[in-house]
Amino acid sequence: MSEEHYLELCDSPVQFENASSVNNVFFDEANKQVFAVRSGGATGVVVKGPDDKNSIAFRMEDKGEVKCIKFSYENKILAVQRSPKSVDFINFMPDLPHSEFSQECKTKNATVLGFCWTSWNEIVFITDQGVEFYQVLPDKRSLKLLKSHSINVNWYVYCPETSVILLSTTVQGNVLQPFAFKCGTMSKMSKFEIELPVVTKPAKIILSERDIAVATIYGQLYVMYLKHHSRTGNNPGAEVVLYHLQREGACKRSHILKLNTTGKFALNVVDNLVIVHHQSSQTSFMFDIKMKDTDSNLNIHQPVLPARSIHPYKIALTGPAAVGSQTPVPCELYSSTWSVFQPDIIISASEGYLWYLQVKLKPVVSLLQDKSKLMEFLLRRRDCKMVILSVCSQMLSRGDKGSLPVVAIVFDKLNQVYKEYLEAEQSYTMAVECGPSRGSTAHKRPVRTQAVIDQSDMYTHVLSLFTERKDVSHKFIIAVLMEYIRSLNQFQITVQHYLYELVIKTLVQHNLLYMLHQFLQYHVLSDSKPLACLLLSLESTYPPAHQLSLDMLKRLSTANDEIVEVLLSKQQVLGALRFIRSVGGHDNISARKFLDAARQTKDQMLFYTIFRFFEQRNQRLRGSPNFTPGEHCEEHVAYFKQAFGEQAFIKPVTL
């Protein structure tokens, strides 16, 4: 069963002092820091960072109950809100004075709902009457108002990744006004309305901030709305409605995630998957908005997998009672004291833990039967490579009847991603070569994600092991290799030599040389010098390999030396000479090499012919038929003289 939990809490959570009457706990989504504030800060504030290593501890004066506390980026300035009107600041930069300064909101009679840092020194106050955008001047210990905007605000949501603040306005709270902040500028984006379920008694805030979350999914910003349906009527249950928020243009409703149940929900986004936790069933749903359901083009999504609970988690009991014996106890999952933050954070304030939610891919493999869907799903995940490779291995090892079409689909999916990467890489290289003269946009090198499974990956982790298997028929092995080569060709990817070698090795092993022969005939195995040499080595078991190899060398047209060597080794001395003459290389060949080969044939006439050829060459090149000492042909000259007599030499032309 544990194989079925596809969600888990991370192994190394951030631990902090649990919330109590004397210890208040705050979480800053921007820096992902947990603040434990004891007695209003007088007895200490401990800040734990996302990786639990850089904790910061300090004290501050107790000036009343802390409502909100956050560092600016890089922990340069600390902002603390203790009153509904103002925010206090403390410099944390080494050479600046440490004492506090304060800023009251500009709008009269407004209440500060909260604040958000948008850079190391820029901050936004959100009041019930609008937003105020300030620059903090730490050396002057004051703030400068950059911009403000008046609007009635019920509540707000901040997305630190994109520095977008979403304000809830109007009586029902369902008109959302986004603002984007960037380098001292504040831009108002077009507002949009969340469609509420039909209600009976309006004129009251209906859209709660608990039901809205903002997150980036596949590089796009989405507003997620948890839409609860009343149990009455035909509605099958709650759903999550995604609104696609763009910098320009209106925000559009883009996806609907069907939950098919009701109750209390919480949202996370992990690895571009939307995770919906359902408290009453203690399970979570997983949605992939890129996964298309075949039966609808309306972007209505069902969960990718059946709902499962998060993998059971054990925590070590701490406290005075448990000194020596720290036996871990199961942690209560889906606890009502959990707080869930975007994108992937779960905090249990009562136990003092911050976890990152993680998706485990291995259980998905067994839960998602449709291999084509599974591959698509995996290819979109971050740490997918090894899982994909193991899926490939698994799929091949079983050799189920009728699995070849599935194998083909899987290969095609892998190679599509591979090809896209190769193309991006190629256009990047071309752009770089062309230089920066055109336009000012800097070329970004394409990122190689784990989903790029290249030939070497497939070879190392899947195919080379697969071809070694004794329990799979060689017919299937060859079919799979050919299918992979077909798929590469279909995407116009150059096939690497080692794949051909694998095919050849398998065919030779099973003595399927005529099959190999036919593949070569149709150039399924592309020409290369190593392949030609491999073929030559097969000649003794399969004579036609000789011609195949020589033809290949000739087609390559860069292997003239090799061709000469091959022909000479077969004692085809005249053939070698004719060949080298046909490509115009006969003035540069070694006379000695040819004469050696001719002598070896023990064919007198052949030796005579070859000798005469080189005499004529000498005559043409140097004006004399004699060999130069550098050619080391003395032995052959002597033999020629002995065999044919002095008068057989060409007479030097004397003027």
């Binding site: 299937f476 399924v524 000739k554 053939g575």
Partner: protein, 492 residues
């Protein structure tokens, strides 16, 4: 039996070579005097008087025996006489097949009343050609019946003679000795030119079918009567190819051409239209009386000796042979399954290949009538290509050149066979034709050029030039540069 052809002169009558006798004997079967008839396993024509049969067989036996003393390793292959020529072939130990061919002849009319004079043209027929025809007879028999030895094991002389009778009675009627030529010597395979991607798709198709119908042991794929893929070994494929292209396909294409049994009536399998149909076995699956009997063939007779059902299935121009162990029972269910699986896929593939083929043709330019014709053969892969021969039909193979030129090609080839070295021979034939033969390693190329007033050097240059023009694969397209590189110029 004679097919007279009107020759140019006055009322001369020309007779082409024809089959006189064809017999098979085993000298061990009747070694004692008076038992000679037992040696004879098959004799054509069957109505020959018993003693004559015995005499002829005895003569052959004696010739073979006598000539063996001169060269024990190479027994006599043929005997030339004025009127006819005999060919001997021992395909299995002590089993001899003999074919007697009457030489072509000219009948010249004489003055009134006198009988016409007959001139035998004993040099007009070639040993290599008819020797190959004889071997082919045996190969074809073996393809459908297995070896003589196996028949003997299974049912003795009685079974063997039955089989021989049954097979050769029909087969000999399809021998057209007058139109045999160099291509019969080669017994090559014409390969279909195809790009790599389409070829891989075919591979994929074959693999999938073999995977889902695991009964299938071997598959062969042809398009336009040309081979693309063979799961059989080369030698078995060679004879199966011969059968398909000279017998089975022509038999089925003639009714198509005549408009009967139109293939353009698609079948519906599931929601897919397809044009697939069986060329062997059931001609119509919907017929409740349909028979599910397939011809049996024998392959790998040297080692594993397999007997297989031969299923030939065709959709448009694509034909696939599926071979299944003969011990399997094939019935309606299997055929329907195969039809449903293969029909739609093959139809799709056939149109893919057709499309690709047309693209290639467009790239290589419009079909111009070239100034030369050629035959290419590669012993290494049995690839052959001829622009001399027209489409083969069940009855005759047509050539586009004069038989005299074909004879020259045969002569050149006979010269090539005698020597191991690479060679080139250029012959000036009558009527402005030049014939060039080149042999290099395993390849042979014969070109017929029609060029007025050309001299030897020009012809040599011309052949080089013609060859250099083509850049495609030698056997897949036409002659290539690479080929010419291999074909070393050496004028004999």
């Amino acid at each position: 039996l004679f097919s007279p052809r009107m020759a140019t002169g006055m009322q001369e009558k020309q007779y082409t070579p024809s089959l006189l006798n064809f017999f098979i004997y085993n000298p061990k079967f009747g070694p004692r005097e008076g038992e000679e008839e037992k040696k004879i396993l098959f004799y054509h024509p069957s109505d020959v008087e018993k003693n004559e049969k015995i005499r002829n067989v005895g003569l052959c036996e004696a010739i073979v025996q006598f000539t063996r003393t001169f060269c024990p390793s190479k027994p006599a292959k043929s005997l030339h006489t004025q009127k006819n020529r005999q060919f001997f072939f021992e395909p299995e130990e002590n089993f001899w097949i003999v074919m007697v061919v009457r030489n072509p002849m000219v009948e010249k009319p004489n003055k009134e009343g006198k009988p016409p004079t007959i001139e035998y043209q004993e040099e007009e027929i070639l040993d290599t050609v008819y020797g190959a025809v004889l071997q082919q007879c045996y190969s074809m028999y073996k393809l459908f019946n297995g070896t003589f030895a196996r028949a003997m094991e299974a049912g003795g002389v009685e079974l063997l003679t039955q089989k021989l009778e049954k097979f050769f009675y029909r087969y000999l009627q399809t021998l057209h000795l007058q139109s045999c030529d160099l291509l019969d010597v080669f017994g090559g395979i014409s390969f279909f030119p195809l790009d790599k991607m389409t070829y891989l798709k075919i591979q994929s198709f074959v693999n999938r079918v073999e995977e889902s119908l695991s009964l299938i042991k071997y598959t062969a794929f042809l398009y336009n009567d040309q081979l693309i893929w063979s799961g059989l070994e080369q030698d078995d494929m060679r004879i199966l190819y011969k059968y398909l292209t000279t017998s089975l396909f022509p038999r089925h294409s003639e009714p198509e051409l005549a408009g009967r049994d139109s293939p353009l009536r698609p079948e519906v399998a599931g929601n897919l239209l397809h044009y697939g149909r069986f060329l062997t076995g059931p001609s119509n699956l919907k017929d409740p009386e349909a028979k599910f009997r397939f011809p049996k063939i024998f392959v790998n007779t040297d080692d594993s000796y397999e007997e297989l059902h031969l299923i030939v299935y065709k959709a448009m121009s694509a034909a696939v042979c599926f071979m299944i162990s003969a011990s399997e029972e094939l019935g309606r269910e299997f055929c329907e399954q195969l039809d449903g699986l293969v029909g739609p896929q093959l139809t799709l593939l056939a149109s893919d290949i057709c499309e690709q083929y047309n693209i290639n043709r467009r790239v290589s330019g419009p079909d111009k009538e070239p100034q030369f014709k050629f035959i290419y053969f590669n012993h290494m892969n049995l690839a052959e290509k001829s622009t001399i021969h027209m489409r083969k039909t069940a009855s005759v193979s047509l050539t586009s050149v004069h038989p005299d030129l074909m004879k020259i090609l045969g002569d050149i080839h006979a010269d090539f066979v005698r020597v191991d070295e690479d060679e080139e021979i250029i012959v000036k034939a009558m009527t402005d034709y030049w014939v060039v033969g080149k042999k290099s390693d395993q390849r042979e190329l014969y070109v017929i050029l029609n060029q007025k007033n050309a001299n030897l050097i020009e012809v040599n240059e011309e052949v080089k030039r013609l060859c250099k023009f083509e850049t495609m694969d030698p056997f897949l397209y036409t002659i290539s540069t690479k080929l010419v590189d291999m074909l070393v110029t050496k004028t004999a």
